[in-house]
Assembly symmetry: C2
Homo-oligomer: 241 residues x 2
C-alpha cells in the first residue's frame, strides 16, 4: 500500500491518518523574501507584488548599488543588497536570474544559501525566428540544477508563468493566475504556495516533484506563442481545484 | 522585421495586412472525426463528447468488433471500425492509442492517414512509486514522432489535459478546460481549435509549434500530482485570452 499523501516516505503512515486539507497553508507573513536577479523584469515584478502584499523583500544583484536603486524605485519597504547579502538576510530566496547565469550564480552562493528555502523560477529557453523553444538542461531542469548545486538548501520551483508586464503594472490590481509549486517536501511547497497566495488574484497550487519541473519551465515557450497569437499576457488556472 | 503572425514565412507579408481575429475559426461541423484507440478511456471519452456535440465520429481499434461494441455503447451515431478503415473514413483523425503502441500503430497506417489532419493527444509517461514522470522521446515528443512517421499527413497535437473520467461521465454537462492546440500550419490548428470548441465548456487555444509539444504532453504528469493532492480532475485554463 502506498500512502497517497507521501508515497516516497520511508516509514508507513498510520493506517487511518486523515488526509490533510491541501489548502491549510502556513502563515508566511513574517518571513523575509530575497529575490536574486531582482533588478530584472521578472524579479522586479515579483518583488513589487510581494512587498505590496506586505512581505519584507530584499532584492539582490551583482551590484549592491544597482539593487538599492531598483529597491528605491519599487518602494513598499523593498531593500537592495548584493546577491550574497540578499541570500543571507532572507528566509526564502527566489532565483530570478537569467538562465545564462543560473549555474554560476548559484554555485557562488552555495554557502549563503545553506539552510534557506530556495524558489527557482528560471525558464531555460532559446529563441530563434520561429519564436521560443525549450533548452535541454543536463540536470533535467533549472530547478534540478539548483538542487544539484545547492545540497544544503531546500529547493522548490514556482512562479514560472507570470507576465513581468502585468506584475510591474501598478494599474493591475490582481494577477489572474495560479502558480504551480514543485518540490520534494510538503512543508516547503506549502510555504511557497502560501507565499504565492499572498498576492491578490494569485493562488499557489502543488504541482509535483522536481523531476517534473522541466515541462513547467518549458511551458513558457507555449505561453509566448499564446501571447503572440492573442496579443495577451497569458497565465494559467488549474480547474477543479 | 518579422511578421508576428507567421515569423517563419519565406516571403514578407504585405506591410499593413490586418491581423486576423484568432477566434475566427472555420465551421468543422461537417467533418468526420476518427479516433484511433477509441476503445480506451481517453478515446472513448473524446468520441462521446464530440458525437454528443453533433460531430460524426468513427472509433477505431485493432479489432473492428471491439470498436463496434464500444461504438454501440456510446450511442450518438458513433460507428466502429478497424484502425485502417477508421483512418480512411475520417477527415480528422485523433490518435489516442497508448504510448507503447504509438509508433507501431502510426507506421502501419501511413498510407491510410495520407492527406488527413492528424491530432496526436498521446502523453508519453512513466509511472513508479513516486507517481508519473515524463519519458524521453527520441523525436522530442509523441507529436513530433507522429510527424516523422507520417510525412504525408498534417500533424497537430491537442487534447492532452482532459480527464477521461469527466469526459465519460454523462452527468457532467460541461468540460471546464482549454485545449492547447499545436501545429505548423495555422489552417490546421484553426480546424482543431474549432473542433475542441464544439464541446461545451471547452475552448481550443493555439499553443505553438510542434517543437514545443513535449512540455504540453509531459505536463500531464503534473496534473496527476495535482489530482492526487486535491482529489480532483484538474484541467487548465489560459487566462487573458
Amino acid at each position: 500500500m502506498t500512502n497517497p499523501e507521501n508515497p516516497s516516505s520511508g516509514s508507513p503512515a498510520p493506517a487511518k491518518a486523515p488526509a490533510r486539507d491541501p489548502w491549510e497553508l502556513p502563515d508566511v507573513s513574517g518571513l523575509v523574501v530575497g529575490v536574486l536577479g531582482g533588478t530584472g523584469d521578472q524579479g522586479r515584478g515579483l518583488a513589487y507584488r510581494l512587498a505590496k502584499a506586505g512581505q519584507k523583500v530584499v532584492i539582490g544583484s551583482r551590484s549592491a548599488e544597482r539593487a538599492q536603486a531598483a529597491a528605491d524605485e519599487l518602494g513598499h519597504g523593498v531593500e537592495g543588497a548584493d546577491n550574497a547579502e540578499c541570500a543571507r538576510r532572507s528566509d526564502i530566496v527566489i532565483v530570478a536570474v537569467p538562465w545564462e547565469g543560473h549555474a554560476r550564480t548559484l554555485e557562488a552562493l552555495r554557502a549563503d544559501l545553506a539552510g534557506k528555502l530556495v524558489v527557482d523560477c528560471v525558464n531555460p529557453l532559446g529563441f530563434d525566428k520561429q519564436g521560443a523553444y525549450a533548452l535541454a538542461v543536463e540536470e533535467g531542469s533549472a530547478a534540478q540544477q539548483a538542487a544539484a548545486l545547492l545540497p544544503d538548501s531546500r529547493v522548490t520551483a514556482a512562479f514560472h508563468h507570470l507576465s513581468a508586464v502585468l506584475l510591474q503594472d501598478p494599474d493591475v490590481a490582481e494577477i489572474d493566475t495560479d502558480v504551480l509549486v514543485l518540490g520534494e517536501s510538503r512543508a516547503d511547497t506549502d510555504v511557497v504556495q502560501a507565499l504565492a497566495s499572498r498576492i491578490p488574484g494569485m493562488r499557489g497550487v502543488f504541482g509535483g516533484r522536481l523531476r517534473n519541473a522541466h515541462q513547467v519551465e518549458a511551458l513558457v515557450a507555449n505561453l509566448i506563442s499564446v501571447n503572440r497569437r492573442y496579443k495577451a499576457h497569458a497565465g494559467l488556472r488549474v480547474t477543479d481545484v
